[in-house]
């Protein structure tokens, strides 16, 4: 495109044609406020906060949606522009609840930042808040419709990026509202609780279901033994909550911090991730030999599992019957681990710290009780743990560090990969290729890495070509699933993660990550993998011990009973 020079507040800037005024201004170092704009979404231009004055145009134009043209003279801070911005903010605030101090987004709320920046001090309009009940219907997410500023960012991510279509608009004009599908609560809609709408929301209208109280009750009860597992993506992102780069917090420091909060034993989900590779790797080989139920989909992402149950009930046989690492861990902690540690399983409170809100739903699925108790009692997100650290006055970055509890703390580089999209695939390929004998020199499978929507690769297993695919964001998963439902899928093994970038971009992670933030967190995952001594799941000694002393063999009857599950159709109004 031809280069175009424009004059922004007197500064001459040259930008390629088609750039919006917003981007051109940013390059010229001029800051224009936005609310409904999101770098990874289509321009909607409905909040009108980013209006600027362009010479020769009668009306003010939205900077996000107006492309620059040659010789355009733009003024971003005239009296008329400021009057417009402050009036629009005043209009929004006159209907917005004034409980900033109670709100989960206090300090990270875009509306709060704008109101302070633009000195909106007086309000000429009578308060007129919505007074609607909060929506607690789903185990993972809580919606507070009174705080919605109608920027449509949540609808955009749920419809375009995730194609779940759980959220939509209702009514018209002053009564317009964002509602779950037919306004009977989120649980009645096809919502899979992936939590991407939480990241999209600029204010506190959607948050994760807070379970800190339940945790503190368990910790304070002397009878109870509180055991927790931590997902790989949690450690990576937690550093961001305390002002450091992703991966800045060492695992030992996190373990130390959690023990200081009051957890009796701290273990690692990655142990179960390596275990999943053992089970799922073998299941894949079995399916390849029998040539049945192919392509096989991974089943470690509960958001993806529910998406398949709601939208593709006819193709559930393609999902691997393996449980996710969280649920495998849960099943083992109240059986194998309880036995090894000599603790009465009834006293154990199995906690799981995850980067994900859908895990809160997975834990309450009725079939997740194979340990004769609830496999996982409580699931907390990265954000909740960060809040807990702040509440208890602990800054994990300053701690010395502590080791994991025995039996289920060891993990390999392969397990760490589970946090990034393409990670489960790479971990599985490293093991599956070696199960056939011979060792793999090149451990890195670059084709399955990165932020590309659907990634492909071809691998040779005992001479036969196996085509694999990796999809992140449910819109890409839907594309692959359509091929499978039509019987035209060229792949044998497909990894799906519901969230863009994989679990490092999960619904429970530090707020509003852009695609760049997700890419940065991904890099930290691969850095940690390279730093570990063992980088193949089948080199995990504790997993070997589990099989020898307890499960008998891979895919044994006991393994099947504890580590595998089933899926059923969810009749939702899609």
């Amino acid at each position: 495109m031809t280069a175009i020079t424009v004059n922004i507040n007197g500064i001459k800037t040259t930008v390629p044609g088609g750039t919006s005024i917003l981007q051109a201004a940013a390059e010229a170092g001029v800051q224009i406020p936005t609310l409904c704009f999101h770098p990874d979404q289509e321009v909607k231009a409905n909040c009108r906060i980013c209006v600027v004055e362009v010479e020769g145009q009668k009306n003010l134009v939205p900077a996000c949606a107006t492309a620059v043209s040659e010789g355009m003279v733009i003024k971003t801070a005239t009296r008329r522009v400021l009057e417009a911005r402050r009036t629009i903010l005043e209009l929004i605030l006159s209907r917005h609840p004034q409980d900033c101090l109670h709100c989960a987004r206090s300090g990270s709320c875009e509306l709060q930042k704008l109101a302070a920046e633009y000195d909106v001090r007086h309000n000429r309009f009578p308060r007129d808040e919505w007074q609607l009940p909060l929506d607690y219907s789903t185990p993972g997410i809580v919606r507070d419709p009174n705080k919605c500023v109608l920027c449509h960012r949540c609808i955009e991510v749920c419809t375009a990026v995730q194609t779940v279509n759980a959220l939509g608009l209702a009514n018209r004009g002053y009564d317009t509202q964002v509602v779950p599908s037919i306004d009977h609560g989120l649980f009645e809609s096809p919502c899979v609780m992936c939590g991407q709408c939480i990241h999209a929301c600029p204010v506190g209208a959607i948050t994760e279901r807070d379970q800190i109280d339940e945790l503190m009750e368990a910790i304070s009860d002397p009878e109870k033994v509180v055991v927790t597992q931590i997902a790989p993506a949690v450690r990576l992102a937690l550093a961001e909550e305390f002002g450091d780069e992703p991966g800045g917090l060492r695992m030992e420091q996190l373990v130390d911090g959690l023990q200081k909060i009051g957890f009796d034993y701290v273990l690692h989900t990655n142990f179960a991730a390596d275990l999943t590779i053992w089970e799922e790797g073998n299941e894949l080989l079995e399916r390849l030999q029998e040539g049945k139920n192919l392509p096989m989909f991974t089943s470690c992402c509960p958001g993806w599992v529910r998406f398949a149950e709601v939208y593709y009930p006819g193709s559930l046989n393609h999902l691997s019957t393996c449980k996710s690492p969280q649920q495998m861990f849960g099943a083992l902690v109240k059986t194998y681990w309880a036995e090894r540690m000599g603790i009465d399983p009834e006293k154990i409170v199995s906690v799981s710290i995850m980067p994900c809100t859908a895990k809160k739903y997975e834990a309450v699925r009725p079939e997740m009780i194979d340990s004769r108790y609830a496999d996982v009692d409580l699931v907390l997100t990265t954000r909740e743990i960060a809040r807990l650290f702040r509440m208890t006055g602990i800054n994990p970055l300053k701690l010395a560090g502590a080791p994991f509890a025995p039996w289920m703390g060891e993990y390999t580089g392969a397990a760490v990969l589970f946090g990034a999209s393409g990670g489960v695939m790479e971990a599985a390929l490293r093991t599956v290729c070696e199960l056939e004998g011979g060792t793999l020199e090149k451990l890195d499978f670059h084709d399955v890495r990165g932020m590309k929507g659907v990634k492909e690769a071809t691998v040779y297993l005992n001479g036969k070509a196996v085509r694999v695919a990796v999809a992140h964001s449910l819109s890409n998963a839907r594309a692959l699933m359509e091929q499978v439902a039509a019987g035209e899928s060229p792949y044998q093994f497909i990894e799906v993660m519901a969230c863009p970038g994989g679990c490092i971009g999960g619904g429970g992670q530090p707020l509003t990550p852009t695609d760049q933030d997700r890419a940065r967190r991904m890099k930290a995952v691969y850095d940690e993998d390279r730093s570990r001594r063992h980088r193949k799941a089948h080199e995990n000694q504790e997993v070997k011990a589990l099989y020898e002393d307890y499960l008998g063999s891979v895919m044994s009857h006991k393994a099947h009973e504890l580590l595998h599950t089933r899926y059923t159709l969810k009749r939702k109004n899609t």
Binding site: T87, L91, Y174
Partner: protein, 618 residues
């Protein structure tokens, strides 16, 4: 190419033959029916059967004279055409009895005669000389009221589809576009964008699939020009759309008609069916190789769907919410394909321009606003109805000559032009010529053509409140300034009308109006504050009266009225005392009564009851 010439000659002969038969035509548009036209129709049919007269009874669209509805026309061969107004079922029979049996028209009911070349009857005014028709120039409404809208043969007989034939046989796409550009035709929907340039943009966008869309949403309250074209002469719209399809290279058209016009939809469906049956629409029109199919998309009750991108979303089955432009519809419109959208009246002008040439059209109107425009005259005016006038005619001429001045001789106060997106024009600007640019200078706009005349008894603050209530309810809710701002302005105006106005209200209204007008995403929001800003500009004193003195000069804002009994006129008959719901009236029999202002709820029941009109509101 199969020509319509012979067919046209044959239909004209048939039309003329039927001309030498006695014909009675009754206006059965929605307004005709609302005025009791159907009862007249059955009475006339019954009379003709009993008297077994050889008379054809025909229904027609409306002539535009709503004030005279129901209308009955009598065509006797060799005599001028007589138009009777305000016809009741019984008077209709009387008129026919006297006119058909004894050949004597009844002047007391006549509106006017149309000599059609025959000897005009003595001392009966000719239609074209009546005040209502004198300065009108009927091009778009030419056939309305003359032909039977459900008969394609009538349309063809009156030169219908001649323009389409000419375009398909002689003209190239660029020639057609050049002709429209030369004619200077501008969009009649309200925006006034030059139609030729719009077609050219659609023609230039690449793509095998393009659409032609007609905006017949006509959501403005007080505007019904499009309805009378759709009901009175549907084929003129179809022909205009077909020509546009040929010009920009589209093979499919949609007419988006609002759900509140069932009769218009019925007539359009019949017209499309008849045209397709005669090979004038559908595949391979008149064996010319050009195909064009028209579908009807019914609206579902949303004024915002008059905005082009909202309209397209509505056709696509979505919420009628506008989107950001560019891309403009000419580049990516309906289902992402290049689309040309024009108003009903714009398309209805096309066949005239092609048939009589661009010069004829540009001869009418002013230098930058060409041709004629149809206005809907309503409100406190003596002759309400539709008037098609050359652009540039002065407001005074429209209101006083055509409209016949104000009802029961009240004083003229203002005229609202452009519906809820327009502004009001006070008496001081009556001389303003009606054209796109001078109206915008006054803070109003041409709009679709709704023209509501208001007399001295109208409170301008109440009118501004009324219009804002309409746009506020019709806002689509997508962008903040319009969704929130219009409601906040309305709340302020409602407070003022209830007597709780505060001094700073005027500044807040003006500042809010400015912000909404300059930051809203679509036309609805950008024009919603116009009625308030215009009334503030010309009638600021009335706002100040309401706010500071808590008085409503026009006596409309009920809460501000003081209802007082005039002691001289009051005979103490206690009628008002019994009817008063709040028993606010005191006084003995035969003694002058008085109203306690605290208790009075200003329901004005006493004013209506008092036989001596001793009670006034002020």
């Amino acid at each position: 190419m199969h020509s319509l010439k012979e067919m046209r000659r044959e239909f004209q002969r048939a039309f003329n033959i039927s001309a030498n038969r006695v014909k009675v035509a009754i206006g059965l548009g929605t307004c005709g029916i609302a005025a009791g036209g159907e009862k007249v129709w059955s009475a006339v049919n019954e009379y003709v059967e009993n008297e077994c007269l050889d008379v054809d009874i025909m229904s027609t669209g409306c002539l535009g004279m709503c004030y005279a509805e129901p209308i009955m026309e009598v065509h006797v061969p060799g005599e001028p055409r007589f138009v009777y107004g305000n016809v009741k079922p019984d008077t209709a029979v009387e008129i026919l009895e006297r006119h058909l049996k004894y050949g004597r028209p009844s002047p007391e009911h006549i509106v006017g005669q149309d000599p059609r070349g025959f000897k005009p009857a003595p001392n009966i005014v000719e239609l074209k000389d009546t005040g209502f028709f004198k300065s009108q120039v009927k091009t778009v409404l030419g056939r309305c009221g003359i032909i039977d809208p459900e008969q394609i043969v009538h349309y063809i007989a009156f030169g219908g589809y001649e323009a389409l034939e000419k375009v398909l046989s002689e003209m190239s796409q660029t020639e057609v576009i050049e002709e429209i550009k030369r004619s200077g035709l501008r969009g009649r929907g309200g925006g006034g964008f030059p139609t030729g340039r719009k077609w050219e943009a659609a023609y230039n966008s690449p793509g095998p699939k393009k659409y032609v869309v007609c905006n017949a949403d006509e959501g403005d309250p007080g505007a019904f020009m499009d309805r009378s074209i759709l009901e009175g002469d549907p084929h003129s719209l179809l022909e205009g759309m077909a020509i546009c399809g040929y010009a920009i290279g589209a093979d499919e058209g949609y007419i988006y008609v609002r759900a509140e016009y069932p009769l218009a939809i019925k007539r359009l469906r019949k017209a499309i069916h008849d045209a397709e049956a005669m090979g004038i629409l559908g595949d391979n029109i008149l064996d010319s190789g050009f195909s064009f199919r028209i579908r009807i998309a019914a609206g579902a009750g949303a004024f915002v769907c008059g905005e082009e991108t909202a309209l397209m979303h509505s056709i696509e089955g979505k919420r009628g919410m506008p989107r950001v432009r560019p891309p403009y519809p000419a580049a990516s419109g309906l289902w992402g394909k290049p689309t040309n959208i024009n108003n009903v009246e714009t398309y209805a002008n096309i066949s005239g321009i092609i048939r009589r040439g661009a010069g004829w059209f540009s001869g009418m109107g002013t230098d930058n606003s060409k041709g004629s425009k149809v206005f809907a005259l309503t409100g406190n005016i003596r002759r309400t109805g539709l008037a098609e006038v050359p652009i540039g005619i002065s407001l005074r001429e429209v209101v006083f000559e055509i409209g016949g001045g104000i009802q029961n001789d009240r004083q003229f106060k203002a005229v609202q032009i452009g519906g809820p997106s327009g502004g009001c024009i006070p008496a001081s600007h009556l001389e303003t010529p009606i054209d796109y640019d001078s109206l915008i200078r006054l803070g109003a706009m041409m709009g679709s053509g709704g023209l509501v005349v208001m007399d001295e008894d109208t409170c301008m603050v109440d009118v501004a409140r009324y219009f804002l209530k309409f746009t506020q309810e019709e806002s689509c809710g997508k962008c903040t300034p319009c969704r929130e701002g219009t409601m906040r302005m309305l709340q302020i105006l409602e407070r003022i009308c209830q007597g709780q106005g505060r001094p700073e209200d005027i500044d807040t209204l003006e500042s809010l109006g400015r912000v909404i007008k300059s930051t809203s995403l679509c036309g609805l929001g950008q024009s919603a504050p116009n009625p308030v800003l215009a009334t503030l500009r010309y009638f600021r004193s009335e706002y100040e009266e309401h706010i500071f003195n808590k008085k409503c000069p026009a006596g409309i804002c009920v809460e501000l009225l003081d209802i007082i009994i005039d002691p001289e006129k009051c005979r103490g008959c206690t009628l008002c005392k019994n009817v008063c719901p709040a028993d606010a009236i005191g006084g003995e029999r035969k003694q002058p009564h008085s109203i306690d202002p605290e208790k009075c709820i200003k329901c004005q029941a006493c004013i209506m009851k008092c036989p001596f009109d001793a009670i006034t509101k002020g």
